[in-house]
């Protein structure tokens, strides 16, 4: 299992690097699609069918939106020239990455190896109390019963995003 997921993650990293360095914005968007669709296969292998269904639909809609935006505007990537600003940015990124790697190396010690997770937090939700909600799908049971507030907040964010997109695109620009 670990090997399969590692290979998929390797593909995802290659796709991500290509998406960042592509010369054409359309191919960059499509390369970002590689990462998203590989994620679907990872979710299926990790026994998360709910997530796989959501991710495959959401990724498709995201791609449609991104392609619509790119076709509406321009496909050409800006010319990257190495000046002082760019050098400062790259060194800044490297410093950030080093700091994060340091903290991640500390954090990874407290993680269990893959596949030996203990249900420390979820033990209240799985097993006998699961019959409390009466839902056969435990994820839906958690989402709408134990953690209803999360779902309400999430619905609010979607609502706000829809209103925000309408507002941003509707206003008249002053030229």
């Amino acid at each position: 299992m670990e090997l399969t997921i590692s290979i998929l993650l390797g593909f995802m990293i290659i796709g991500a690097i290509f998406a960042i360095h592509a010369k054409d914005l359309l191919s960059s968007v499509i390369a970002a699609g590689i990462v998203g669709y590989s994620l679907v296969i990872c979710f299926l292998l990790l026994k998360a069918p709910d997530l796989a269904i959501v991710q495959i639909v959401v990724e498709t809609i995201t791609l449609i939106i991104m392609v619509a935006v790119v076709i509406d505007s321009t496909r050409e990537e800006l010319k990257v020239k190495i000046d002082t600003q760019q050098i400062i940015n790259i060194s800044l990124a490297l410093i950030f990455m080093l700091v994060l790697v340091f903290f991640f190396a500390r954090a990874i010690e407290s993680l269990n190896p893959l596949g030996q997770h203990t249900l420390r937090m979820a033990s209240a939700y799985v097993g006998d109390p699961a019959a409390k909600t009466g839902s056969a799908n435990l994820v839906t049971g958690i989402l709408f019963d134990f953690r209803g507030y999360d779902t309400l907040g999430e619905a609010t964010i979607l609502f706000t995003a829809a209103i925000g997109v309408l507002t941003i695109l509707r206003i008249k620009g002053k030229k």
Binding site: I13, S28, A32, T62, M66, L100, V101, L114, A161
Partner: protein
């Protein structure tokens, strides 16, 4: 351990893209790549060897389920990720119509 490190490398790739790129579309793509790496890390932590998907069935006797809690969290996060991506795309196209470019430095210079 290998998978955790690889998903962290994916996160670093996204971070590098955000800091060094100047194109707004590339920045949005890098942001969504960072989101993906966090999703896969959370679901990997909740995986249990020999576990089945967290759906109660009668066919398996005495089953072990994988942890449903990270899955519920990630399910919420995916939809929020879609909302933020759509919002950022709307802002990007709006800026493009006003300034005629996706370059964030040009946009900064034209202010006023």
């Amino acid at each position: 351990m290998m998978v955790y490190i690889l998903s962290f490398i994916l996160f670093l790739v996204g971070l590098y893209g955000i800091i060094t790129r100047r194109n707004l579309i590339k920045i949005v793509i890098s942001l969504s790549i960072m989101e993906f790496s966090i999703f896969i890390l959370l679901v990997l932590i909740g995986y249990i060897d020999g576990g089945i998907a967290p759906i109660i069935t009668d066919q398996v006797i005495n089953p072990t389920y994988v942890d449903p809690l990270p899955q519920a969290m990630v399910l919420t996060a995916i939809v929020i990720g879609l909302a933020t991506t759509a919002m950022l795309m709307a802002i990007a196209i709006r800026l493009y119509r006003k300034y005629g470019t996706f370059d964030i430095r040009e946009i900064k210079n034209l202010k006023g």
